[in-house]
Symmetry: C2
Subunit: 213 residues, 2 copies
């Protein structure tokens, strides 16, 4: 479908387009022009048209874009209708919250297993799944073949576990540990989430503004 490799900035904007289009759809908006969408999203109309045209033109000259159709196409590009099997490792505060709070389905994923090495947690339920002991990880992966893993573990454990999981067939990591995984295997995708970095950035920007005064 794609003419050529899509640039990272464009890819990162896609989920946001998807969200806005879904909202428009819920508001029963049928069509939208790049100009109006730009106004709502705080982007330029030009950029929006450029972005959409990475995937082939599905607008209509003189009319704009059909909201529902466009939402579907972007959803397909993002793969929100897939069912990528995922496991989550580390069911502490954060792990549990991610399992319970994130809508995996909406993102084309299904959480099929949660693991933790704390015996006190094992057997308890989170997001409709029992927390399982780490010893069962290998056999679970061999049987169920999850494709991606959410890592909510301390940073010292992250790299080693990631290497092991790759051997077990995992090729995507959603990494919440305070550690940047470095994976050499080009087949493997890593999405690092650093909440601390995000908070620091907020903190920096706030001070910046105060000083300017």
């Amino acid at each position: 479908m794609a003419k050529q490799s899509i640039s990272i900035p464009v890819i990162r904007r896609l989920p946001r387009y998807y969200r806005f289009l879904r909202e428009l759809e819920q508001e029963d908006v049928q069509r939208i022009s790049s100009k109006e969408l730009a106004r709502r999203m705080g982007l330029s109309a030009s950029q929006i048209r450029q972005d959409f045209n990475c995937f082939g033109g599905f607008g209509q000259q003189g009319y704009g874009y059909r909201v529902q159709e466009l939402r579907k196409v972007i959803g397909e590009i993002l793969g929100v209708d897939e069912q990528t099997g995922m496991i989550l490792i580390g069911a502490g505060n954060l792990g549990k919250a991610v399992a319970a709070h994130v809508d995996f389905k909406k993102c084309g994923c299904v959480l099929i297993g949660i693991f933790d090495d704390n015996p006190l947690l094992q057997g308890t339920m989170t997001a409709n799944l029992p927390i399982m002991p780490m010893e069962t990880l290998t056999s679970f992966c061999r049987q169920r073949r999850p494709q991606a893993a959410v890592l909510c573990i301390p940073k010292h454990a992250a790299q080693q576990l990631a290497d092991k999981l790759i051997e077990l067939g995992i090729n995507g990591f959603w990494n919440f540990s305070h550690y940047d995984l470095r994976i050499t295997n080009p087949e493997v995708t890593v999405e690092n989430v650093h909440l601390g970095d995000s908070l620091m950035t907020l903190s920096y920007c706030m001070h910046r503004k105060k000083e300017e005064t």
Copy 2:
């Protein structure tokens, strides 16, 4: 201190520099060259030198950068030694996890109050703080003057609450609701965290790679 306005990409890289320098410090590394740091971080040496020079040169020709000194300077720029008062609204799964899991201190912030409108939660402790009823929010802000707010609330409530909080003197939002706040006030900083967007991006990149095969 800054010569001119620092670009967003540079600012976003600062917390990551800080993390890596802290790790080097813990490994008792005294000095590091841009070349070696680049290798470790997966950046170019050129970029690192450019970035650091936004804030004035604190390297030493022929020698490199003193790890501890550089870490301190970047920490100061980021304001990690400040004590920005923050409140958290919405003590559900995610709110509690953020309160308990994120190291606010390390980011120059202090969490001083948690609020939720669910009576069942009120009074229970999270991150050493009692969860307080929303009715007390106004008086709390008037007394304690928090500067920023973490929003862990449903999207339909986000915009209205944000407006109210701005009136109460809040000028920074760390926003976890599935909604992009649009704030017109230029004094107010918003850092949107969209975990779903991040997961969708991972999902997209994984499929992309599989198709290429």
